[in-house]
């Protein structure tokens, strides 16, 4: 059985964190995995000096992997600087899932949230 379907992940999937649009977001970015139909939109609220992520919201639909990864990421992002987040990769998320290595077949699902957030930051 693949690691992605442990009870904790299914629980996270069923009740993901920070789902929904936040009222006072500054930036919005859509992220899509066309080949599998994961479709997310991320909302970021930055600190007054524009250097930190103050609040995060996201919405959309996707598989267990993309949704749980987005959910975990959304909580981790709060209070981090934009520069720091730009340097993140899968290693910043894998520990939560108890994994050392990324399943290649699900790499796109797993990374969709982080890639979308990084795209938002690059476009700022």
């Amino acid at each position: 059985m693949t690691d992605f379907y442990q009870e904790e992940m299914i629980a996270e999937f069923k009740e993901p964190q920070n789902r929904g649009k936040i009222p006072d977001f500054n930036f919005e970015q859509k992220g899509v995995n066309a080949s599998c139909g994961d479709d997310l939109v991320v909302f970021l609220k930055l600190s007054d000096d524009g250097l930190k992520i103050e609040n995060v919201g996201w919405d959309g639909q996707g598989c267990v992997v993309s949704v749980t990864s987005m959910s975990v990421l959304s909580e981790k992002l709060k209070g981090k600087t934009l520069e720091e987040v730009l340097g993140w990769d899968e290693n910043n998320l894998l520990p939560f899932f108890g994994m050392e290595e990324l399943n290649k077949a699900r790499e796109k699902c797993f990374m969709l949230g982080l890639r979308t957030v990084q795209k938002t930051i690059k476009n700022i």
Binding site: M1, T2, F4, Y5, A34, C36, G37, Q61, V64, R106
Partner: protein, 415 residues
């Protein structure tokens, strides 16, 4: 029904520990019988050399393997060897029509395609339409399951149609297009239009006769019909090749007659004219052996076998809670199956990727996603679908294994 699993060595393995591998992803690519694997291996073990232009024994054998294989494959489809252009895959074959014949499309002309096309037979026409200033008209769907033939006829009647490109069997829905009816419409309302049939998903499952269908082009992929990856074809009606309406689109070695510094003439031999560069003899040999294998089973029997699997899968999957099985209910229409090759489904709560991965954990390989038919998925409001697809080695017990795997889905996600 027949059982030829023993001919396919790859199917004799266990995965995820002790799970027997059940392969239900033949619509993406089929597995290969030992006969095909041996033919490729034998070619490289005994006969490999470049074709033509050599007088030594190996070159002679290689040339013979190439030419005999071409004949076998062409005749499998009721075509002449000269009408068969070897390509790498179906996509390259539809591109062959675009780049070898597309110059006949001009400003204001109409290209007709359909909402159920694989991207291989749609994106290429978007490109050509943009380049030529032509209009691409896409025939819509009825009941999220089949082509709207009234709309098809209406588009043809409206005029200026230069090309009609449609698929024979939808890779997502399994729907079999009524070729003779559509060809009849074209001959009646747009008699000068050329017809391209994408036979990628029909060639593995039903008898095809290129001349009988009265079409101009047919694209097929060898790897979906027990042949190796890398060998496929475009059939082109001989008149179009002889008149020069269809031109070579790859230039260089092998396809020429005389070459000067500034100009060249091209080979009179049609097969040569459309074979630029060194061909993949071994793969084409493998495809020829695949055609012989299928011919031995009998394509009528192959179709019957496949249709039994489609009916069984449709029935069993329809009994599963929270599962929507898409496409037509399988039945015989005008003496022929209305769908072939695959059955796709959508779970009301579980994403198709998760579904496919959990099913895989039970040893069963199915495919999830949009199956290169994004416009179809968008039109039907489907994010993604999961597809079980079959070939000659598939058995009802494989479908039973798929059904059993749903127990695991229920266990993880709840009913």
């Amino acid at each position: 029904m027949f059982d030829v699993k023993k001919d396919f060595p790859i199917l004799n393995q266990k995965i995820h520990g002790d799970k027997k591998l059940i392969y239900l992803d033949s619509g993406a690519t089929s597995q290969k019988p030992q006969q095909v694997i041996d033919a490729i291996s034998d070619y490289y073990t005994n006969d490999n050399s470049n074709v033509h232009r050599g007088v030594h024994v190996l070159s002679d054998r290689s040339t013979q393997a190439w030419e005999e294989s071409r004949e076998t494959i062409a005749s499998f489809f009721g075509a002449l060897p000269d009408e068969f252009i070897v390509t790498r895959n179906t996509t390259e074959a539809t591109n062959g029509v675009a780049y070898g014949w597309g110059h006949n499309i001009g400003k204001g002309d109409v290209i007709v395609s359909t909402a159920i096309e694989h991207h291989a037979n749609l994106v290429v026409w978007q490109e050509i339409a943009k380049k030529a200033g032509a209009t691409l008209k896409v025939v819509g769907l009825k009941n999220k399951a089949e082509l709207d033939l009234d709309e098809f006829e209406k588009i043809l009647k409206a005029g200026s149609v230069k090309l009609v490109a449609f698929n024979h069997v939808s890779n997502s829905l399994g729907t079999v297009s009524p070729v003779s009816k559509i060809v009849g419409f074209v001959k009646k309302h747009a008699p000068s239009a050329r017809i391209l049939l994408d036979a990628a998903q029909s060639a593995p499952h039903m008898p095809l006769d290129f001349h009988d269908m009265k079409i101009d082009f047919m694209a097929f992929g060898g790897h979906k019909m027990l042949g190796p990856m890398g060998a496929a074809g475009l059939l082109v009606r001989k008149e179009l090749l002889e008149s020069g309406e269809m031109r070579p689109w790859l230039f260089g070695g092998g396809m020429i007659d005389q070459v000067g510094e500034q100009d060249a003439t091209y080979a009179d031999n049609l097969a040569d004219r459309f074979t630029a560069g060194t061909p993949d003899v071994a793969s084409v040999r493998g495809l020829a052996v695949a055609c012989e294998y299928l011919a031995n089973l009998g394509m009528d029997e192959v179709m019957e076998h496949d249709f039994s699997l489609v009916k069984y899968a449709y029935e069993k999957l329809s009994e599963i809670d929270n599962l929507e099985v898409i496409g037509l209910k399988p039945e015989m229409v005008d003496g022929a199956p209305n769908r072939l090759g695959s059955v796709s489904f959508i779970h009301k709560t579980v994403h198709s990727h998760d579904l496919a991965q959990i099913i895989d954990s039970e040893g069963v390989a199915v495919r999830s996603g949009h199956h290169c038919t994004m416009p179809l998925h968008v039109a039907c409001g489907w994010v993604a679908t999961t597809r079980a697809s079959f070939n000659v080695y598939s058995l009802k017990e494989d479908i039973d294994a798929l059904i059993r795997a749903f127990k695991k889905v229920e266990k993880i996600f709840g009913k």
